[in-house]
Symmetry: C2
Subunit: 152 residues, 2 copies
């Protein structure tokens, strides 16, 4: 990866509302060259899309929760069933299969504790094959995700 690409990727994941002219300025290239590079990065799959960053608090989602889950069985079938169910619930924002103590870690957002209780009942408690579940609440966001570090 070239130096110019790194500048472009960093700029785009930081603020993609910049114009091609501004990006070109930053990367020290012509507008058309910049345009071509960005298209190339999209086609190579480095850039998978563009999205608005919404503020959870402004949306009324004051509560963020990480949920660690272990299954009763680690069989292929049990895991497949669990993972399919996770995809069905839009209250589950994110899910990872983990090494270590827990099998899965989920991320959930809710308006308040009452709402989280409802999400727990209507969504988390319905996930199949769950043995144990531990919710950890985010009291404060110290650093928000603002893109990956890009090097080399």
């Amino acid at each position: 990866m070239q130096r110019a690409d790194i500048v472009l990727l960093e700029a785009l994941q930081n603020d993609s509302s910049r114009s091609i002219a501004q990006l070109a300025e930053l990367a020290g290239m012509s507008a058309s060259a910049c345009h071509r590079r960005v298209r190339a990065l999209e086609e190579q799959g480095l850039i998978s899309g563009y999205a608005a960053r919404l503020e959870p608090r402004a949306l009324g989602l004051a509560v963020e929760v990480f949920v660690e889950i272990t299954l009763t069985s680690q069989s292929r079938e049990a895991m497949d069933r669990f993972e399919r169910a996770v995809g069905d619930y839009e209250d589950i924002l994110e899910c990872h299969l983990m090494s270590g103590a827990a099998d899965y870690i989920l991320r959930v957002a809710a308006r308040d504790l009452d709402h989280y209780d409802a999400v727990h009942r209507d969504c988390l408690a319905r996930l199949p094959g769950v043995s144990s579940m531990r919710s950890s609440f985010s009291l404060r966001r110290i650093k928000r995700f603002a893109g990956y570090p890009i090097r080399r």
Copy 2:
């Protein structure tokens, strides 16, 4: 919040590269009205920015890690020092102050285990006031974060 705003917010956090005309179509409003609504959402702070979604694997970041950290002291000073240090390291993608067993949860990305070892040495091990640290590796991303659910 009006129904049209919900449609706009969902569409924008899903794919902000859509044209105003397309958004207007989706929300069932005129192009100029759509333009005004989006500006209003930005000014109200619901939309805090726009960003390109980069693919960590394509960037060579194959390893994602959640790190649970407890401090030796929960004094205001110790926490402030720790939180300031977290801000200084760009390898720490995200950080939350948590309820429950751990004090903080961090999210880190690395190219491979050797690289994670280096990050651990050069960044995590330098965080001040740390009593214990537990790294959990994401073996597979089951569901990627693709925006908050918007309702009401």
